[in-house]
């Protein structure tokens, strides 16, 4: 394993560690879970019993230390609400979120790159301008509003697609997937599109900017001087160059797709982690919130590492400079 990778790995671990502190302190500021969990008619003795059972009587730093000690053994705490390990509850909901985020990612690539290519190659055409105007809408319209509009139009008015839930699922390796059944796929389309909208706009703009940057380069002119077809120039010489930043951003954005799935999942009643965290926040289920945030942080840092790695595979110059 190259040295730079070990260095990054170490840095990533530090970030995760720092984040746990911030998350722990932050969550303890939100409110006292005892206020919600203890029934209002309970007496002082009962209240004390619950508070002690949840470990809320300890000073924060002691709570943190025991949290870290347990975390190192893979125990991120027990949900106040479900009475089960928080990690287990989250992992159960994770595939649904992954499915949604991956579908959105694929949509972003499938729509974003061709539209961006077109807009970049014919920057002054009417269609290109429309694409760019559309991408601005995609950026600026709030996800929840678009989601509601989609439900209104496609589910309520036209009745083409269902408005929520995962639909029929198939079990593969003990995990339920929607995209393997026709019904599940119909349930997936609207939320995936809703979640993808922002990313499609992003990929369009990135691709277009990349094309506009690469096209005037001397090596494109030289490729033409070699007598290459326009098709080869675009699909090899241009695309290979712009793919580097696009892959980077798409990869980095995968983490935010999962984080932003919160909104989409809530609107479309998609039973993933995002919906879970909203419910947990409402009930001040502290271990769930902490566990979720820690997992998200680990996600982000892992994705960063993978993207760094992919980057070196794609861009020969980076490979040399890092001595790998």
């Amino acid at each position: 394993m190259p040295f730079w990778f070990i260095k990054r790995l170490f840095g990533a671990l530090l970030i995760v560690f720092a984040m746990t502190i911030i998350v722990f302190v932050g969550v303890s500021v939100i409110g006292n879970p005892a206020d919600i969990l203890v029934p209002p008619d309970a007496d002082q003795v009962e209240r004390l019993r619950i508070v002690t059972a949840l470990g809320l009587d300890q000073p924060l730093w002691k709570q943190y230390l025991s949290f870290i000690g347990n975390a190192l053994h893979g125990d991120l705490g027990t949900s106040f609400v479900f009475g089960e390990p928080a990690l287990k509850v989250i992992l159960q909901r994770m595939p649904a979120t992954f499915e949604l985020a991956f579908s959105a990612l694929i949509l972003a690539i499938l729509f974003g790159i061709p539209l961006g290519l077109y807009a970049g190659l014919r920057p002054h055409g009417l269609l290109s301008r429309s694409i760019m105007a559309g991408s601005i809408l995609g950026f600026s319209l709030p996800t929840f509003w678009v989601g509601l509009m989609m439900i209104m139009l496609f589910a309520v008015q036209l009745g083409w697609l269902p408005s929520g839930g995962r639909g029929e699922t198939v079990d593969v390796l003990g995990v339920r997937w929607s995209f393997l059944t026709a019904d599940g796929l119909r349930h997936l389309i609207l939320p995936a599109l809703n979640l993808a909208l922002f990313k499609i706009s992003l990929v369009i703009r990135l691709t277009r900017a990349g094309v506009r940057e690469v096209m005037p380069q001397e090596y494109i002119k030289f490729a033409r001087a070699k007598g290459l077809t326009e098709r080869r120039i675009i699909s090899v010489h241009v695309l290979k160059n712009i793919l580097i930043p696009i892959i980077t951003v798409i990869g980095l954005e995968f983490g935010s797709l999962i984080a932003f799935a919160v909104v989409t999942e809530t609107i479309f009643a998609w039973p993933g982690m995002g919906k879970l965290i909203i419910d947990s926040i409402n009930s001040l289920d502290r271990p769930m919130i902490v566990a979720y945030l820690v997992i998200i942080v680990i996600f982000f840092t892992t994705i960063n590492l993978i993207v760094d790695f992919l980057y070196t595979v794609l861009d020969p110059r980076v490979r040399l400079e890092s001595g790998g």
Binding site: K221, F222, T229
Partner: protein, 338 residues
């Protein structure tokens, strides 16, 4: 004995018949917000198979635009607005995009000025060379690869087999230019347009590459247009030289004649500023004044504001005067003994 020849750069009609490239009254203009830039404005010359033409002139005189016009790689806001380019009997100004694509790299190859920019940084050398072959011929990849390897060997790149797998950034500037030259040679073109291919390189490598290109093109009878702002580079290798000023040829002829007996004051100035031709201790003679603004050229002779010989006559536009295939565009040419 002088005669005025309009629009023909003095090369006699007899030699025109043997020409593989014949450019007549070429005009390439750029529509800029400040006005129409006449980068090439009425250019004519001929080139025979195997002949090396040096195209010389200071920065902005229109050398590159001439080269790119021939292969029709002028990008907007530039446009060829007039003239004829006849290559092996085919008229290029009206050729279709696909016809041009088939010519480029196959029959007319180009080498660019800056080797650091001409190779795609994310593609391996073999990819970039093999595609240049396969764009024109159905050749199995192994065979194309072998040809690429041989071409690299020919231009003096050591262990070409391994170097094929390298990326451009693993080469020095000189080596990259060799790769570009090898790429240009791949399909044995009839004409190579080399746009200042050695300017970005240091002097010893310049000389090496110059010698190699000369040898390779002589062996295959390839015609070359060698573009340079440096008359001394061109004088060593070209058969003919054409001197450009503000989008026009102001003097053209066999290298020895132009160098030894320049007629146009501008050419004389260029030669005067070559260090090797000055007696020791004598100050380098320079062409005074600024390079011309193409949007604001003086009326009549474009060189008038910088010329020591200028007088009232020069307010009219000088035509081309020719004598024995040596042409110039000046009312008061330098005398041969000057």
């Amino acid at each position: 004995m002088t005669a005025v020849l309009e629009q023909t750069a003095g090369v006699a009609a007899s030699s025109r018949r043997g020409a593989i490239l014949s450019v007549r009254d070429l005009k390439t203009y750029f529509a800029t917000p400040a006005g129409e830039v006449k980068a090439v404005d009425g250019l004519s010359f001929d080139l025979r198979a195997g002949q090396v033409l040096g195209l010389v002139g200071e920065s902005g005189s229109g050398k590159s635009v001439t080269g790119f016009s021939i292969v029709r790689l002028i990008e907007p806001p530039g446009r060829i607005v007039g003239g004829e380019i006849s290559f092996k009997g085919q008229e290029l100004t009206g050729a279709s995009l696909e016809e041009m694509r088939r010519l480029r790299g196959r029959h007319i190859a180009m080498i660019f000025q800056d080797p650091m920019m001409t190779l795609n940084p994310v593609l391996r050398i073999d990819t970039q060379m093999i595609e240049a072959i396969q764009a024109h011929e159905r050749v199995p990849i192994a065979e194309a690869r072998a040809r690429a390897r041989d071409a690299l060997g020919k231009v003096g790149i050591p262990s070409p087999e391994e170097r094929l797998k390298a990326y451009p950034h693993q080469f020095s500037g000189g080596m990259r230019q060799r790769v570009a030259i090898a790429t240009a040679l791949l399909n044995q073109p009839d004409l190579i347009i080399a746009d200042e291919p050695t300017t970005a390189l240091d002097v010893t490598i310049q000389a090496q590459i110059l010698a190699e290109v000369q040898k390779l093109t002589r062996d295959t009878n390839t015609a070359v247009i060698w573009i340079s702002h440096d008359l001394s580079v061109v004088s060593g290798m070209a058969d003919e030289v054409a001197v450009m000023y503000a989008g026009r040829i102001v003097e053209a002829g066999p290298v020895a004649e132009v160098i030894n007996a320049p007629r146009h004051p501008y050419t004389a100035g260029l030669i005067g500023s070559l260090p090797s031709r000055n007696r020791r201790g004598e100050r380098l003679r320079q062409i005074h004044g600024m390079t011309p603004n193409l949007l604001d050229l003086p009326e009549g002779c474009a060189f008038r504001t910088r010329c020591d010989h200028a007088d009232e006559a020069c307010r009219r536009e000088p035509g081309l005067f020719a004598r024995h295939g040596h042409v110039h565009r000046c009312f008061h040419p330098c005398r041969e003994d000057a």
